[in-house]
């Protein structure tokens, strides 16, 4: 009885800790300029733990380490492209909500990434308005933030 109560208490503390911890957000793009643009487009005062990746392989590594609950993903990248990243996320069932941010805006590209499990598609160049709109739309950003 006492042990059970203790376990419950531990769980609650754990849950509280997760709530307090900043949201892990990953920006995955091979261009340092694009990563900078993306960072600038994120909402102000958004409590996040931001990580950068310069290609798909680095991106997957970061997601596996839990650094990308929300991922802003480019498509055209060396080593492993955005499509490859989406495939691995799906195959390994990794906990990542992916927003594709790409210059490849062909109808086919948008359709393909949605099929591969991407949550949303944003056309480059990105701006604060678009980023905030998508994040709000999917409930990642609450109205208060």
């Amino acid at each position: 009885m006492i042990i059970q109560g203790f376990r419950l208490l531990l769980k609650t503390i754990n849950l509280k800790a997760t709530q307090i911890m900043a949201l892990p957000v990953l920006i995955c793009d091979d261009s340092s300029f694009a990563r900078k643009q993306m960072k600038r487009a994120l909402p102000d005062n958004w409590d996040i733990d931001l990580t950068f990746a310069g290609n798909g392989l680095e991106g997957i590594e970061a997601i596996r380490q839990g650094k990308g609950e929300v991922v802003f993903l480019d498509l055209t990248m060396p080593e492993m492209d955005g499509y490859g990243v989406l495939e691995i996320i799906r195959k390994e069932d990794l906990p990542a909500m992916v927003i594709v941010v790409s210059g490849d805006i062909q109808p086919d590209a948008q359709e393909r990434v949605k099929k591969l499990g991407a949550m949303a598609f944003i056309k480059k160049p990105i701006d604060k308005e678009k980023a905030t709109q998508i994040l709000t739309e999917f409930g990642i950003l609450s109205a208060a933030e």
């Binding site: 300029f33 055209t76 210059g103 490849d104 805006i105 062909q106 109808p107 086919d108 480059k124």
Partner: protein, 201 residues
């Protein structure tokens, strides 16, 4: 004086081109109902003699047809060069629903249609990001059924250094490919670099 670009600037040029070529590919994809494969564009400062090598380096080894078109805005001038693999014409004619005979005339018509989409959208896409509007000159046919080397020989180069942006377009599941080369004059590079530095800041 040699104008050079540093790594950060090159990265920025690449990303800006990436967005512009994506917009051009989107136009072509919607027009032909296909998927255009987009590689990472190459950005380099090259000399007139190196242009020859850059062209020879293009993946197109067969006979080509080419169009060039100048563009200009305040203090920035350049030339877009679209080099089209001649083997692409039969597939392109099918996609464009071209009914006429595929002779030099027919090919020219297709070449002009594709180049106006790709060059126009790409130049506009780059201009938009710098918030400048380019005026485009008339397209000029550099040659039909010739070798890439001949394109350079026919040109009269009055510059020493140029910023060359090279984009290879390929259509998925089709035998269609071309190279788009954007060449900016040396004077323009200094001017664009200012814009780039502003974006990088």
């Amino acid at each position: 004086m040699t104008t050079l670009i540093n790594e950060d600037q090159r990265d920025c040029y690449q990303e800006i081109t990436n967005i512009a070529m994506g917009q051009a590919a989107d136009r072509l994809a919607r027009l032909l109902n296909v998927y255009v494969i987009l590689p990472i564009p190459k950005v380099n400062m090259i000399s007139a003699s190196e242009l020859h090598m850059a062209l020879a380096d293009t993946t197109i080894n067969d006979n080509v047809s080419a169009v060039c078109q100048g563009f200009i805005a305040s203090g920035i001038a350049g030339e877009a060069l679209l080099i089209f693999n001649d083997a692409s014409f039969s597939d392109l004619a099918k996609l464009m629903n071209y009914k006429g005979p595929l002779d030099r005339h027919g090919e020219l018509e297709l070449l002009m249609d594709v180049s106006s989409v790709l060059i126009g959208a790409c130049i506009q896409g780059i201009g938009d990001q710098f918030e400048i509007s380019f005026n485009q000159g008339h397209p000029v046919v550099l040659g039909q059924h010739c070798h890439v080397d001949d394109l350079v020989k026919s040109g009269n180069h009055q510059w020493s250094q140029t910023l060359a942006i090279e984009i290879h377009y390929e259509i998925e599941n089709m035998n269609i490919n071309c190279d788009l080369l954007l060449l900016f004059t040396e004077d323009s590079v200094a001017k664009i670099n200012q814009q780039i530095d502003y974006l990088l800041d």
